[in-house]
Symmetry: D2
Subunit: 419 residues, 4 copies
């Protein structure tokens, strides 16, 4: 993972021994990715695996089974003699692949008490055993490509991040304030004054994934590499802090429609937003519910759990704007040293709508449903977060969510136009 941030606490717990998908053998890589999911679950009680606290959240057990289903469906079923031990799981743990078959409705994942957590772990073990065998075969390439295997591992890593964001949401609904892990400190080191990285002339730059510089794997939405036109602009070298965001709140940011997109203002009204998600104002000031429980808001840490609407309103209040995804990519490529918190901190909202790159073509078949069909009504986020597994993020990575989404670990980096 390309981050110079000084990770500690939570990060150390979660990332130790994590996979480098680049240098390891495929078998080692697979083993480590799978092992990491187990580590994430170490602090959990059986009951924690089962809850779906809102439609966007999936039960942990579902994440564990769905990532397993992915390997079974796209790898093991290529084996002529493979027999699924649990054919019913094909429907239960399909997320959204229409071409693979029927799906159990997403918002009803929390209604299932069976298969039990123990049965899901057993399912993982069965599939892992079959995968280990497959990965050791000399003709493995003819059965399943590196590409598909890497997709499966990256897919599981995405769900590892989701497990943490979803668990945070589940615990946040509980007035007992359960603690996932005392050590899960998600705040970061004190920050200095912001500096602006300038790009003072119009320029054309190549963007998107390039195998020779960026590694062995990318998702289809990072392709094709192509050329983009950048206007003169500057981009902040660090993220917006809680302290800065508090100024926006205290200046009436949530009361003044002139800072907000129309859809954002409507959301502020209908949802009653007054602060980032998980913030609570008590007698002892602002607190924030975290994986380590309820903690005072740290003014020096980067703000987290804000929607695109809030990021955009904050930027307008600041007299700035959000960067485009290509401004972000080129700044990080060219000024990696300065952009110390680009990775491993907060996903960073960009001004860019999530759209296909020129000449983008979704892959054939079910894998083609991975990304392309979501290219509507969402915003691109760049970088990665404290919850992203090590080795998963990269310069050209495109995360995406609807503009009202707040339950992911997402923050704000500013940009501004230059004459």
């Amino acid at each position: 993972m390309e981050t110079g941030a000084d990770l500690d606490g939570f990060e150390r717990v979660l990332r130790r021994g994590n996979v480098s998908l680049v240098s390891d053998s495929m078998l080692d890589a697979y083993r480590r990715v799978r092992e990491h999911s187990r580590k994430i679950c170490a602090p959990l009680e059986t009951e924690d695996y089962v809850i779906q606290s809102m439609p966007d959240v999936s039960p942990t057990r579902w994440h564990l089974a769905h990532t397993t289903w992915f390997f079974e469906t796209f790898c093991l079923k290529n084996l002529p003699d493979y027999e699924p031990e649990q054919p019913a799981f094909e429907v239960l743990f399909n997320s959204y692949y229409n071409s693979v078959g029927e799906q159990f409705p997403r918002d009803r994942r929390g209604l299932l008490s069976r298969p039990t957590v123990a049965e899901v772990w057993r399912y993982r073990d069965q599939v892992d055993e079959a995968m280990f065998e497959l990965l050791a075969r000399s003709d493995r390439d003819s059965i399943v490509t590196d590409e598909v295997l890497r997709t499966g591992m990256n897919h599981e890593q995405q769900h590892q991040e989701l497990m943490l964001t979803d668990l945070l949401h589940v615990f946040s609904c509980n007035p007992l304030h359960p603690v996932y892990c005392d050590d899960a400190v998600t705040d970061c080191d004190p920050v200095e004054e912001v500096r602006w990285i300038e790009s003072p002339v119009e320029r054309i730059e190549p963007v998107g994934f390039d195998e020779s510089s960026h590694g062995l794997f990318c998702f289809d939405n990072e392709l094709p590499r192509h050329r983009a036109l950048l206007s003169p602009h500057a981009i902040a070298n660090r993220l917006v802090t809680n302290g800065e965001y508090l100024e926006f709140i205290e200046d009436g940011g949530y009361d003044d429609p002139s800072y907000w997109l129309s859809a954002g203002w409507a959301t502020v009204q209908s949802e009653g937003w007054r602060a980032p998600m998980y913030w609570h104002l008590g007698e002892e000031g602002w607190h924030q519910f975290t994986l380590a429980g309820l903690r005072p808001v740290d003014e020096k840490a980067p703000v987290c759990h804000v929607s695109y609407f809030e990021a955009d309103a904050f930027a307008r209040w600041s007299g700035c704007r959000l960067p485009t995804e290509f401004e972000w990519e080129i700044a990080v490529r060219d000024s990696r040293e300065s952009m110390i918190d680009a990775f491993g901190t907060r996903w960073q909202w960009t001004a860019s709508d999530y759209a296909p790159y020129p000449k983008y073509a979704a892959p054939e078949g079910a894998i083609g449903e991975y990304n392309g069909k979501f290219m509507c009504g969402q915003k691109v986020l760049r970088g990665s977060s404290v919850a992203t597994p090590e080795g998963h993020a990269r310069l050209t990575y495109r995360n995406f969510f609807p503009p009202s989404m707040r339950w992911q670990f997402c923050g704000i980096r500013l940009a501004t136009d230059l004459e």
Copy 2:
């Protein structure tokens, strides 16, 4: 329990060793009621305790904790030195007692993974231990009355029935068709031709609970005993069967608005009802999801899981009507031998709205919230069901639910006017 029905299977499993609240000592009674809740949970996995499959359903774990909270709140807290070990449970497990304090929202009970099931069992053990001590004290009467203790035990018995109805709903949402208990046969003995019990003249009869004939305990809604006027009528000696209900379905009963109340017809349309709840029409005919899994519909068994709307429409289609609650009560009192399936089979919808008896007064304080405030928009059901704990039902018992409710074990008894 006043039932002559030949119970077997499911019933034997669930009812063996159950309490007779009348003859036992208070301590024995308490112990047996509490023990019965544990028996109901014997077949469950931890995950099964956690799910709330619709707003009306509560997680099993919640039932276990709420019934415990009831004893803690209304008995143990009268002890001057009692210290709750878990003060947070006061809010979490209060159902609807405004006068006791704040409540956790009913429809969010399924969002909690903590306290764990093991912690809830521990909570039960703590409260039981304190209750055993209290019940053994010579001055127990001055701390908590028999009335309150019996209310607590009857309250837990009501939740024992709800645990089974709720678990049936939870399992029914799962395409794996989990089986609660293979032995949980909820069908009844073959039935004979219906006979009509006639009451040919207008009469005034006493109704409602009478301590001298009906035992030591009743709920407040069964009081005061008063006199009711009955018109000439006849009432069926047995319940409507699945076979008879199938004739209604096959005759287009669900397609013809002339059989239905206006609100019933609207519900048929909006919910897409075509048969009782849990019925499925497959290639091999009608099946019914039960606590014993998916089973063929038994034409001889009494129909179950129908709403008031369906009971009323079926009655109209039959050229009959539903009995009033007093017609039911007097028929069972006067012709107990003939009404063999009055108890232990299906709750029986009556034509009566759930209203207070003349001069009804809710008790003072929190206990007064038990029944009275629900006397609006609901229908009275009489009798008891296969899921009702032994010893809980009685002649004057008034169950009540909204007319669209189907997830309880409820069926149909017919009546008709006489000239």
Copy 3:
């Protein structure tokens, strides 16, 4: 109309020349009923006829057309050579008669700009002309019975009241506070101290419509006349006033769940009720939106536009209860002199659920859909209101609405149990 109230203003405008359905010839009666609808519309602009301000409200134009459709469908279509000029109106203006055919959805009545108001008046004229001819025929009886004609006229009178209640709601949505009629004063004369009319012993009394004492017409829900059992009780001789209701408000009535039915309390919360409908608290105290515009609340006038939930909560706060419909009927029958405001003031909520009388049978055919199918989830109101056309109400009349309804002219009469 059986009212001794000293009506003035609004009432005089609306009722002058209204029909006495009893003494007039059928032709005169028809003519006067139809004419009264036109009078109600005199103050309206074309635009006022078109609006549906909530699903329960119908556009005035729809009321005019639907009452006409009723005569066309149930009278004129019996003529062998009758040809409707507007066959499309059969669907458009059918309200809920499934047996007559398809219906245009109730909550979409406000989406229609055509037929225009002028066309609806033309439709009325066409039907009236045909009706005049029919009513003058010597063989009229063999084509349409008195019963059906009287039903049609009473039906139109019910819609005349609805026109006024619906217009009040339509105007209330408009921040310009339009005035229907300056003269439409709906407040009543100053009241004196309440007196209680006692019925100190249990008694059996005949209730329901009796042709020999009550006139020529009733709705089917007032039949059969039968005997009812009354407990010892007392009933107030006059309605609850705005001043008395203000005390309830100021005593925190809307903040204390102990006064409320559970469903009522939920409605108070979800709807944000703080006072009767149409009340506004401004700098100059409480005002009420009326057909005469925004007026200060008159503390001496009977409270209006309260739901059953509010009437019931007020009664509980008062240490009283609401009367049953039979207590109301017998008190008015026996003590007509004392109950001066029984009619022509406010519809009076009773504690009685709207249920069929013993041996009630809905008429055959479409007319049978008039009342019976609504006998679920509603409460009976007795008396009549300032908006009820003269000659429409009677001792045994049963109005009915769901317990949350407030837009009708409904108020509160108290009762209490006697030992």
Copy 4:
């Protein structure tokens, strides 16, 4: 208006005498724009002005008043001695300008019967008279700029198009199929085989409004003019026809999720879409509800009333894609002769998200709320439709709507990548 299409029928009726905002004097231009609104209303009954058939639709009367309010608010109120005759209209007819003050809720516009249509026309006359005076003043420039006047006129033209689309929707809800205007034929001339206009090399082109070539006025969202990078591609010289769209339908286009964006497929399911809006399949084949009533679908005419989701799915089914807004702009600029149906036919969905141009800055004050705050979650449409007033559209015009929107006159132009 830059269209070579041979307009007839509907167009001739609506556009005759319409304004050329470029060449006329400001006073003439104002007069003609205002006059055109009146022409659109010529076929209407009073009732037609009042209906709001869905939240997106506004009553015609509201359009007439709101456009008037715009001139009053942004022009007349600059006059030191101007006194609004109807101060209440400030709230009632403000659409979404937070900085101007309170707004009446958009989805409640259909609840108002007052002010009447006649009063709204009077309001227009009052404002027009004051505007005529203002426009004749020699110091007019110091009171209101050309820019604001042109914005007001263009704003009214936008609402003129909305009046027609909204009226079509209102009439479509009426089973009587009212006809707005027999002459309102919205179909177009027969089309020939599609030809592809190629742009075979990557190029940088200036896009956005340029005063010297494009005229005196544009909206702020067309600025700043800037340079855009275009990939090699080809664009169709004509729109997709009903006949071609029928092939998509008949090939199961609405049944196969692989053609659809995920959000599009969800909409197809939830809305039950099977064809473009206003299409009905009857015994005599496909018909389409139009402003001229119900008409058979003309296979040669360009398809209309499709959402972005449908346009995008059709393109994918065709093996093509939608053009970006800049591909569209450059093709029309460079090949105007070939793109005969670019204007005056259907708004054309582009693949481009509605985003600000580089260095876009919203104007100060209320006018700044015109466009910028809607730049989220919408798609750009280019060209213009049969309902667009003559002289309103231009090469750089950016229309925008959410991707599920269908009630505007919008169609499909295809594009494809070149190697």
